[in-house]
Symmetry: D3
Subunit: 237 residues, 6 copies
């Protein structure tokens, strides 16, 4: 029934390749099917003005799509002179989600910026960015710990994300682009490896959903995130 | 326990005053406690390029805050030369939510723009904007129907929104600003009068939540939205 | 002869409602007929760089129109990414006019920003902004004086403004929108309560005027400002 | 008493050199003392959207200052990414003033853009721009008439401008920069050669003025404009 | 003598991997040592306004760097709201260079946009972009020819580019970042496979060079380009 | 054969008029035929952040064209809200070229900004800007030396620039606009008075060139620059 032939609760093939940037403190390429996102983590000693002198750390994120990561070419945002609303929303979500897995006292007064750049898009880029972004963050933090700049591990638990939606009347896990563009209801579920919820965004474009459907989607997401967390931990070993 | 002395499941006093703009096709001032939002609906014959000639209508929204609607003065976005990420997120949410209650075929090829301008802010401005915005939309659509420009009612069911969160460890309904700035978990629930869910955004800033807590918040929201829908219908009579 | 049935020298009904913002140090809603402007005054301890350390205070203003304050909806300036030329001109005028009534030594090194936001427009918004803006400024200064932060009153005399123009060949006071859009000559007269002139802007779009006509307009304005000053003083009591 | 040694009613030496641009349809360099403005007029067949198809013509203006036209270097507006409020005000004034001398029916559906670029500034640049701009406009219109593109002369009467102000307590004509930066009251008077008034802008920065002073300034301006009109007519012969 | 141990006339290891984008009409990843650039070619039926209806085709390019492609993180240009001067220069160069190898009549009225995104930077990104960009262009044109949309081959000869410079007093081929940041003289040489020159940019930052040195650099470049052309042809087979 | 009737190796008539700005520390108007550029040099005590405290000086440049310096009117860059790519390229080139003739230690920690504003354009504006810009720089430095602010002359040798190209199959010196718009190959040669090369930019738009042609152009440029240097030295005496 699904265009890809996948089962309702089946995720796309996922791979996470680390160490792909010579310069970044942590990096990986995450591939969820044909969605490929390059994630890098940059450590800087400065923090945003609103926490200067507080002793607390900060984790933030930026998101971009290469112009031809999509089926038809998108306008380059730097040429347009501004980031689209969608871009701004996604990068705020990535940053907020990653921070929910960080002990900012243990991190100390420094900032880690996670850049998520979509090399190829086929649906679910924000979830792939969060999942891959956490791996880049993990690797950068490992470097800080190895150097003794950070004493106790500031990462509480892995953070991963997956999308679920109602496609052709049925709850499905990990929508690809053909499903996403048809689905009436679409949700992003960000969770921690310890089962805690970080963020839920369920949205119906020109449609609605019932509480029962919501529960179905949440169950699918729960299982999907557990699979992703296992892959994250293996990749960052 | 709540700073305002309200019970856990008690909303702030809500009033909706209609007909406050001489020019707009529909308008109201919604007051949820000290949060006051002016909502106007404008009907235009043109639609966005991507639906031109489709016969479908469009509903969109814009959101703004007056510079001194807040405790300390905010910079005027027009002077800054761009809308903040938060503004963009909120106005996309309002538009998407209102569209979920609209039969776009019945509306016909025209656009209704709902402007939500925050006159005074004390938490929950996006929920007040959706709830008040629907009333302005209702009044504008009434005008179209009275004029015979629209035959069957394009509004399927009222759309209303309320926030809930975990404050001091307890699930509470309709957070005001003192609660909102302390709450670890914060959610916005947008529903229709017929009980269907439109959008759920639950987010933990530097925290997490369990599935049980999620259910508690959803129950609170459900009851809150029913109260709001009654007020909307009465205001738009 | 006037569309509203007013006499040549008759102003619209004016009301000034104070204390309408919970957060601002001074605030009012001024209504001149169907023109409604919300004015707030914000006190800040910082001053612009060019007077830092001089001991002098500063008063500045910003002006905006809600998108549907007008007959047909205007584009939101924050969405357009810049303020229109007209907006910039008006807010510079408001600031300059209010400063002409301020003893900047007595004010001390602090800044008061007066925000004038047009809720509903029917001609004469800049004059209403100046007149209402002064009331907000007066209330904010009263707060400073009550707190002992300012010793002697920095407000020399009330500042008020009124428009006059040549409509259908005759000099009329306080043009509303139907008159304004027809008038060949249009002037804004900003004066102090002590009779001194602060700013005169007379302008003919596609027309001209004689010195005799100029004198007529000035006489009308003089009388109009005296009425407004009485209302300002009563409102700020 | 004046820094330049001029009498109270004495203008600076004025020269208008025409034909200084190889490309423009009309051009001149106007020099009022050390204020030098290059004015060019460009004829285009297109008109702004709001008068398309009306048969009416349009005259508009743009204004700029070279970065080192001033005592200390100003930031280049193109590098800053926007025009300052002052620039926008001035170019709107120039366009409005020139249009008051134009019969837009006789001009026919075409646009003339007058560019005024300040090569060297020493006070009074907006007045010099209007006076010189009219000469460039006159020359461009002459070209249209010679070519038979325009039948009857669309220029009703010359448009010229001069500044006056209260300097050291006395009304003086044509303020230069040292006077302008000290004057409490400062006015720009735009008139036609036939004695009609087009625009009056009198403004007191941190000061006020009486009606008697206003009359004195207007008398000075009247005489000054007559001198300028004679020079304009001679230059455009 | 060179930091990398290379001989004076030795290029870095170069690889060109094609077919790496699912969506683009042509694509490759070019690696010149640690400089990695992703190049995609997009075919569109529209052309820029200035050649509409001429029957001629157009080739243009855009260039970007991922924020952490560099040693320390660069600010994202979309977040900054504009492209840097360096970016604009480079993308104009890439487009101009590629067009010099194209028969625009044979291409027909269509546009090919070549996007060059630097994934990792270690000097010479503009040269790698041109060399890889031509391969992406070649593959896209092959697709047009296979589909019969283009009859005769519009690509006249391969276009490739290499940098040379004076490093530690000696002429060297293909500077990497450590060399580039020290070199007093630095040149980019863009040539065709048939030996014709397309563009030469030689520049001395805080230094100069003699005509003899210029000849040495040109000889090195000539040999380097021949090596690159062989690799391009093999990759695009 | 040339539209102007000039010989292949003949430059246009060149004049350099100094002292034309009352305010700038150094200034000239350079005229190369109908190309007229106003150059001013401004001395400031501050330097860019990246050399603060280094004791080194800085020379930078900005470039602009008046809207009607060209055959048809160009849009004003300040109104468009950004500088075009071409503008950015040219001003970076001017600054880089002038710095190649400056001993930045001898200059001391100060900045000189050279503004080049094109009053009238007929081809070759970047070369005229560099040649005239050096004269303005020379005069400003003379002022510093006369005042004793700089001890030894920081200007090593004059810097001048000329264009050459292949027009109608022949190498010609100093292209004017009619030649430039036809020439397939076009180069800018920036050299010092002592014969050293600073920058070479040779570019073929939709064409190519051979090494022999390149040598011809360079020979022409060499002779042209020597003529210009003689004029520079005479003008700055």
């Amino acid at each position: 029934m699904r265009p890809s032939g996948r089962k309702l609760s089946e995720m796309r093939a996922v791979s996470i390749e680390t160490g792909i940037s010579k310069h970044a403190e942590g990096s990986c390429m995450i591939r969820m099917g044909d969605t490929h996102v390059l994630c890098t983590a940059t450590i800087e000693d400065r923090v945003p003005p609103f926490i200067k002198g507080s002793g607390l750390g900060w984790v933030t994120a930026e998101y971009g799509m290469l112009p031809r990561s999509t089926t038809s070419r998108m306008r380059r945002e730097s040429a347009a002179g501004k980031q689209q609303g969608r871009t701004v929303e996604i990068q705020r979500l990535i940053g907020r989600s990653l921070r929910a897995g960080v002990d900012r006292v243990a991190l100390g007064e420094r900032q880690i910026t996670v850049d998520c750049d979509v090399i190829q898009a086929d649906g679910g880029t924000r979830c792939a960015s969060i999942t891959g972004g956490w791996v880049a963050l993990r690797l950068a933090v490992n470097k800080l710990m190895k150097a003794g700049d950070v004493k106790s591990d500031p990462l509480i638990s892995p953070v991963a994300a997956v999308s679920c939606g109602i496609y052709a009347g049925q709850a499905v896990l990990d929508l690809d682009y053909p499903e996403d563009s048809e689905a009436g209801v679409d949700g992003n579920f960000i969770m921690r490896g310890d089962g805690q919820l970080i963020e839920i965004q369920m949205s119906a474009e020109g449609s609605t959903f019932s509480r029962t459907q919501m529960t179905e989607l949440l169950d699918l997401a729960d299982a999907g995130v557990q699979e992703l967390v296992a892959l994250q931990l293996k990749a960052a070993e």
